[in-house]
Symmetry: D3
Subunit: 337 residues, 6 copies
């Protein structure tokens, strides 16, 4: 008997379509775990070989045995932590693409800062409640996802008023870096040790991305509370003179992860969520140590992926290709967490 | 003698290039009807087999005989009503892709609301002049096209002042839903009964999309009247967790059309023009029952079409493919209005 | 011995990746000249056959002999003038794609206006210091690049205050045309005499493109100086009814260049940087007589290029294809400056 | 849970590479059963997912349970009867592509004649030992495979001498039709009811295909016994005016099988082994009711398959495509024997 | 109105599939004229847009008006003369690919010899009845098609006996050149003046290609009359050192046709039917001034066409491409006879 | 400066087109050295970048400096020895694909036998003049190329008569193995250590391949001397059950070359020229340690190459790919002789 067959599995949300289409293009069998109300939706896609239904995603860990029996490799995406908790992720008893040791560092804002600083990537100044703050600031509660629960403050009064509304949740006060955002999608190959820039997007956030369109006089007469809920993404390219630093940041953040986390460090897809200032300096707001939803724009490749690949290469497909290579080289353990 | 040959024809504007390129890719003969000053422009495109000149688009119905003699199938786009009137469309004596019975429902704002409500798709609240209005609102005259003739009002005073400028034109007062817009492009297949999401865009409107870039102080000192004239489009993807509802809305709106309009209902390309609120809820501003210009972004396919098709599939090409399938199956009447 | 082999060369910045990938796709040998800190970055790309290092780009002219010995053809991009000066460009003793006589006209704002006016393309009103100005205006220093050194003024007071900060640099005061921007990328073929629209983008500028997202109240309490530094680009399509004029403008500007500059006029890639007003009128802010960075979005083709070409056709590849055709036809001199 | 996954399985010989490559191209999982000395050979081919070893092919039926547990569908080829016996085939307790009821008719020379005659396909005259024979004849023992055990006789004396050498084996005496051979490969679709000509070959037989190259004088002085052992194949196309009859014969033979054998009749790949006479008449020597080795020439398609398919379509791939379609349509039982 | 649409038409036989598939691939509309019993056969092929039925091919000229009304261009093949007579061809009142003036030269064996000799291509010696003949010879009746009516003679006695059987038909006695045959397929472009070798085949003739397989003793005891009826073709490549002369012969024969026939000479597909002698010298047996059936092997291209084209290029497609180019260049008359 | 650019060079004959097309497809620069009368022929092919003319091939070694200055890598083919002599090959002072140490073994018939025997590949029995010979035999002079100078002998008298005609040239007397020929084309990768079967052909020899078509009676009355001059090739596939041994022979012959010749042994393309006997046993007549002309059939891939490669892979392209890989891995010396 020769090589067993592997199935790429993921949870039905976020970037599952991208992951499974990429897996299918690389000839894996594909499996999706999702909740009943989404089954009909995912059934439309012929590249999903099997759909397993769970009542809630929290039930997912109970499927471990079934998944292992199918030789499944789980590819996590940005909603895994939201659905399963970091802890839930850590305990998954199924082969898992990526290094789980990174989970602690990703979920803890302070560890994240340590990591970015070690990688010599500028980060916004940050204060605690009561510190002497330099305005404007943005206040983020712990565990806020998709931009919900953020607020902007231009003055001490704004800040105080906003904090009031948080009802005791933990939060950080961050320098509001004025500049445009750029979400840079990377892929770090554990097999070759290289880091690639796969694509770049900006988020499309409601309602904040609609405010500029409302006439000033109107806004003045009827103030609108801004919210930062991500509902989509739109594509970007960066000025070529910024790319060398974009690549270098990716490499530094991977190198730092090897020093700080464990010898394997972070690998697979990740994202630096940056603000580009008028001085053309990147400031990193956050690091996502897995596939972000902005990559969904590039199912058929991005301006960057087409420079390097002769075929459509999404980040999702890139993951599957890495797994494929690992299987061929007999070193699957090098890509599993 | 075997199968007659069909020609896909359209009017030279809006998304004519997309329609005819798609028809050409599906091996139809292509024909464009346009006005003299645009002939030179359309001649550049080798996929247009024939260009017929008319002095004004209003003359177009007189070509019916000539078009029928060429076995032409007319593919309407979003400017057909503007050029020919809904009535002009209804009377076209040429095979026509789509169900003309939908025209009444599309052009009448009240019928449209009825339709969307039947489909259980949230719509903005709406008032008549004199009603007790919840601000902000947007005021739209009947028959306004491409965003011309809209105005925003944050207060009763704004509203009154704006209405003054309308000089007696009919208008509706609509809740201004604060949120980001997403134009979702669908294709409903009359042959298979399925609905596909083809792509998503946001509009690029002058001058309102430039306002955010003007410094506040400047705007304050020199107020600028916002206008909403669409001059382009830019691409989007939606958060994957919003997609099941996006598909479901498409299906419901098609199902509702079968109940309300006639047994065939709406088919072919259509668009839901939505606002996504911070609660991640879609509110539909309008339904376009034909090809919208935002699909022009996806001549080479969209992130959604590449999930389903192995080749570049624009909405224009999708139409041609449906016609092709109908011809092969001998059921051309099922796609003609 | 038959045909010598040519190498496409450029400077490592701006759109060098696009140019060399396009050259590679057309089977040229490729060469990049760049500074030491970027060598590592450019080495990642397998389509760059050779990298020549210079300490600063100013040294570049000294490589002329070496480049000629490799049969190099230099493809300039939008950073050539910044790196070498217009004069430095003119003196380059290496075969150079494009007409150097255009350089004078491109760099001198007044000549540019003359050119655009001859081409009957609307331009913003323009005034000198002391003129009776119609507000709002934007003030641009001579030689400003990438949007740095611009300021916006809504009133005479703003203007006076801003001019103060310029410290005696030369500047122009330009009508601030309120409308959305559209950067239209063209290619003019010297061999066939045709002009093509390759793609359209809008710029992504820091910090001005982030302002709309900051709540009004916040901005009011803590004013932010707008800046216009381009750090990226995002894709657009234009309304089809605007395309005939977009093409016509391209043709007129090329025709005007033949009359004003020399018989060959401008050829190769160029860009009209326009504002589209609510009246759907293009106003040209500037003409770039070479490859602009917005084309970097379209490495795999644009919605416009896919209408015309059956393969991915970036502007960079289009240049290489023109050179290829010139070589085949034995008329390389017709594409060299 | 959605669709189970199927594995295409076959025995390692004859046209196994073609079958499994075709299955792989249609995205099936592939499995090969073979004997130890061939394992190394088949391991070279990356499209074989799994290799199961048996000491002799006779052991194969014992794998039935294991194959069923993998959802295997067995695709038989021309060596199945040789390896397993017709009876062995009939008893295989694994889903099997094709109609097993045809096996009786294929293996029994008399039933075969009945079948061909019912299909109104000319066959060589045939005699029993002792009949009044029209020379030349070819004598074939029952169960002879690959041309071994045939002999040619031009006179009664030759015949008698030859029969002597057979040592009592059963044989038939057949008219030796003087003409060129053409092996026509068909595919009959049980799902659509159509018959396609996939390709045509001639066999390459040792030593008979070398005799023409030996000088006559030499042959005269040193007679060589002809043998007809097939060791390869070479490609042919037929005169277009012969094709209508080639297709018609295929259809008639399928129709006859439905009348004679059972309602489903023969489907899948089959081959008519014909002699084309100087009168341009086909005489059928034999019918093979499964994949013949001559199709191995057309891994990348044949002149006939390229007329109909836009992609390389071997007979092996055609089988996999039919199975795929059956799975999609939920009618797998229609293609299984 | 812009360019009319053309239809490629031919008669249903010989290489009609190749011609119409090639026309389809070049996006022509396709039309086949054929007799009732073949309609079903040709209906299988989706690249045939229209089939017009005639009771016999002789009726074909009556369709001229109908064909002209469809803008048909007739592409003749090797059976046109057989079906319509050379005279029938000459009189066809439909646009016709090729130079009809060549017909006289092709059908008259003596003119053909003059032509080949003018092109300095070796031809077999030839004698009249009664001449002093050098054996072996082959005797061909005038107007023999497809090899029927030929006979071989090794001695004066054989010759006399054979001539007897001709019953007074006209014939030529030709040197039987001992060597292998090679049918070289050319395409001469009237637009570019170049000649290409498209492919090479050998014919498959019944019964002569089966004789080598019959044991010598058998043949001696039961002599078989050889016949030379072409029923198929098989592919060949020539030794590369023979190719320069193969190309040169093609060019000389075209050049000679310009001198002898008319200024346009022969263009389009043609074939030199050669014997290659042990001295590696080509001897031309015949020239076919149109598409020969051996090209049917190369529907998906030949080893020679793949050297030059990046896509499958049959001779049939090559014809369609030439017509396409002529249409685009507005010089259709240059390719029509 | 990064990687130098390499040029693949060869002599203009034999399989030069295949080699240079393959090199071009792998993006090498290509150079052909040929004699004046062939320059025009080779100029037709756009994949030949440069043609260098020599008066005779013997002059070729004088070009060594020029070739080295172009970074040329010479790819030898089957005519190199004929043109330059084995000794001339050995002395070529240009990087050379393949192991020159193999030349001695290839050119000396006795060493070749030793080699084949070491590889346990059956060879024909062989005798010297005067030995007790088992008929039939074939007599081959030393250094005979392309089949010229061979003769067949069925009896001692034939042999004696034939030897007479050789005029004292050295010769061997070989068992004439009665069976069909199969030329198996291999590629041995020095980088991966694997051996691939690329394709299989049979030769087309004049006049011997025409003899079978001449009626027996005619041949008897007018005997024709057989000759074995190769003028072309036609494609074959082997019975799948013969393939394992075909691969194994290839591996054994490579392994034997490592033991007998030097540690690197033979690599690159080679060919076993075999006879397949009625017992389905391969007997090797000869080994060619480089590209043979039969591979010219497979410019677009063979039935075997399409099993392994997703793109057209001729033997010529396979060579270029190996060189490419060696360059990328920095081990060019491993593929140069």
């Amino acid at each position: 008997m020769t090589q067993p067959e592997y199935t790429i599995a993921t949870l039905g949300s976020h970037s599952a379509l991208q992951i499974l289409k990429g897996a299918w293009d690389e000839r894996f069998r594909t499996l999706l775990v999702t909740t009943p109300e989404r089954v009909g939706f995912y059934r439309r896609f012929p590249f999903i070989d099997e759909i397993v239904q769970v009542d809630t995603f929290r039930e997912f860990p109970r499927l471990a045995g079934e998944l292992r029996s199918r030789n499944a490799i789980l590819v996590p995406h940005g909603s895994f932590v939201a659905y399963l908790g970091a802890d839930g992720n850590r305990k998954l008893a199924v082969p898992y693409f990526g290094n789980k040791a990174v989970l602690d560092w990703e979920e803890d804002r302070r560890l994240q800062r340590t990591w970015l600083e070690r990688a010599e990537i500028p980060v916004p100044a940050q204060w605690s409640w009561g510190d002497d703050v330099r305005f404007p600031v943005i206040v983020k509660t712990y565990g806020a996802a998709g931009g919900k629960g953020y607020f902007y403050a231009a003055t001490p009064e704004d800040l105080a008023a906003g904090v009031e509304t948080l009802g005791g949740q933990r939060f950080v006060i961050q320098e509001y870096v004025v500049g445009v955002s750029a979400y840079i999608h990377y892929f770090a190959s554990p097999l070759t040790g290289t880091v690639e820039v796969m694509s770049v997007d900006r988020r499309y956030e409601t309602n904040v991305d609609s405010l500029g369109r409302i006439p000033l006089a109107g806004q003045q007469r009827l103030p609108i509370d801004p919210s930062y809920v991500v509902v989509g993404n739109s594509p970007l390219v960066l000025r070529e003179s910024l790319l060398p630093e974009a690549y270098a940041m990716g490499e530094r953040v991977v190198a730092a992860s090897r020093e700080l986390i464990d010898g394997r460090g972070m690998f697979g897809p990740f994202c630096l969520e940056t603000i580009v200032t008028p001085e053309q300096r990147f400031v990193a707001i956050e690091i996502s140590a897995r596939l972000v939803a902005g990559t969904n724009l590039f199912i058929n490749g991005s301006p960057y992926s087409w420079l390097t690949y002769d075929e459509p290469m999404s980040s999702g497909r890139r993951i599957a290709r890495e797994i494929n290579q690992a299987i061929r080289e007999g070193s699957l353990d090098r890509v599993l967490g």
